[in-house]
């Protein structure tokens, strides 16, 4: 599984790429692989207030729907509009073209509650056992 350096990861298999006070949010390669072909994404609304660990989006695959939880607290700046017509981008490019939304962080200290790439790689290895 691909777990790029420099991102923050959650136990629920979301990632966040932090750029200053802003972060891009998506689901991990492990998550997209487990879900299979993704067919629909219900992103949060622009301007919506999110809490760290709170529900923020739904990702549907052919087989099932699963909830996405926000890695950080903050406000939604915009969503990835490409995904409404091309949800398969989450499968093809989970860390780049398949990001789900961008947000402004309200508390950068929340990073402490997240994993780095090495920590997440170890975490998913543990899940496989």
């Amino acid at each position: 599984m691909n777990t790029p350096e420099g991102l923050f990861y959650t136990k629920d298999h979301e990632w966040a790429r932090v750029e200053g006070k802003k972060a891009y949010i998506g689901i991990t390669d492990h998550a997209q692989s487990a879900l299979g072909d993704i067919t629909f994404i219900d992103p949060p609304k622009k301007g919506q207030q999110l809490k760290q660990g709170g529900f923020c989006a739904t990702v549907e695959s052919v087989k099932a729907a699963s909830d996405v939880y926000s890695p950080f607290s903050g406000v939604v700046l915009d969503v990835n509009r490409e995904l409404s017509g091309h949800p398969e981008l989450v499968n093809r490019s989970p860390y780049d073209k398949g990001y789900i939304f961008e947000m402004e962080l309200s508390d950068e200290k929340e990073k402490a509650g997240l994993m780095d790439a090495a920590g997440y790689a170890k975490y998913i290895e543990g899940l496989a056992e």
Partner: protein, 362 residues
């Protein structure tokens, strides 16, 4: 993984693992859900030809007089009048008219039939049949010895001809023949669960792996899992036993009366006639979402905000790029063309009631 150890494996288990299939439990078996991906396998079946491991399904061989033994009463098809080498789809019912299983009957000879049943219902079906047979007959549950591969897709005719010679491709729909491969007797029917031209091949378990490899060596053929088998059958509006059919619903309720022969006697007939007269309490309906959101098994169906039924099958339709589903409703307001909603506990996904099949070639 104790659960997985108790699950049954088909002769192709190792083949699936070597193809990196995602495996999951289905009907007491550990089966391949997908190899490359459900959408790719779905598209390949609609556009070329796919190979499915269906060894989990059950087969019963019967020899005797269908009417005198009572077999003709156990199923809703009139099997005593079937032409030789034909297949007929129908049901096994309980006395209340509930569906114990849906099955396809093959008439092999004047006095011999093969019954093809669902994997999860093999033991229950066998018990029901044996409890209702009488007099002289031979019944053999060959499920654990007979393998089954489904070859499905518009190019399946060319592939079956290459492997078995010119015979199978001449079969009409729902007709079968007996063919020989490696000295083994095989039954091949022109039928399937995808809506495409296709063949269901029955061969001894000992030769399943060899046949699987031979068919997969054809450049057009790719393996396909139960994931796309489900999206393919759902696009056709074909019911899946345990979801869209069960002992709580009858073929009348499911709108499948045409697979019931009312000209003969059968178990459950009284209940079905009564239900036809009074109208069923629930009806199986088909609906399409106005978006890519998928109805899911167990979701509620809501008309004018009130819950009127339950989704029994739902998925994203790759051919329609929209959510589709079927389910039972109690309301007579759920007519073709009318709007409703489905959702886990509340109306969430707007849908419209439509006619099946959801997908057609033209």
């Amino acid at each position: 993984m104790d659960d997985q150890e108790q699950l049954q494996k088909t002769p192709l288990y190792a083949s699936h693992l070597s193809l990196n299939a995602k495996m999951a439990p289905f009907g007491g078996w550990i089966m391949p859900i997908q190899y490359e991906g459900i959408l790719a396998e779905h598209a390949h079946t609609r556009g070329a030809v796919s190979l499915f491991d269906i060894c989990h399904m059950g087969e019963f061989m019967f020899e005797g007089d269908a009417v005198a033994s009572g077999l003709d009463r156990i199923v809703t098809q009139k099997i005593s009048s079937m032409p030789l080498s034909s297949c007929r789809y129908g049901f096994m019912l309980n006395r209340r008219g509930g569906v114990i299983d849906d099955l396809i009957v093959y008439r092999i000879k004047e006095r011999s039939w093969m019954l093809v049943v669902n994997a999860a219902t093999i033991a229950g079906d066998e018990a029901n049949i044996l409890a209702n047979l009488r007099g002289e007959y031979k019944f053999d549950n060959v499920s654990s010895r007979l393998g089954k591969l489904d070859l499905q897709g518009p190019r399946s005719g060319e592939v079956i001809t290459k492997v078995f010679g010119p015979g199978p491709a001449d079969l009409g729909y729902y007709r079968f023949g007996e063919f020989t491969l490696w000295g083994q007797r095989c039954i091949i029917s022109c039928s399937g669960y995808t809506g495409e031209l296709g063949y269901e091949i029955y061969i001894s378990n000992d030769y399943v792996v060899k046949l699987w490899n031979l068919l997969l060596s054809e450049p057009d053929v790719k393996p396909a899992g139960l994931g796309c088998r489900d999206t393919l059958r759902l696009e056709m509006g074909y019911p899946l036993y345990g979801h869209d059919l069960d002992t709580a619903h009858s073929p009348v309720s499911a709108g499948l009366d045409k697979f019931v022969d009312f000209s003969k006697d059968f178990i459950g007939k009284g209940a079905l006639l009564e239900e036809q007269k009074n109208g069923p309490k629930e009806r199986l309906v088909y609906f399409k979402a106005g978006s890519r959101r998928s109805p899911r098994n167990g979701f509620g169906i809501f008309a004018a905000g009130a819950r009127v039924g339950t989704v029994t099958s739902g998925s994203f339709s790759p051919s329609l790029s929209a959510g589709i589903g079927m389910g039972y409703v109690s309301s007579s307001g759920c007519r073709l063309g009318t709007a409703a909603d489905v959702g886990q506990d509340k109306p969430e996904i707007p849908v419209t009631f439509v006619r099946k099949p959801f997908y057609s070639k033209t």
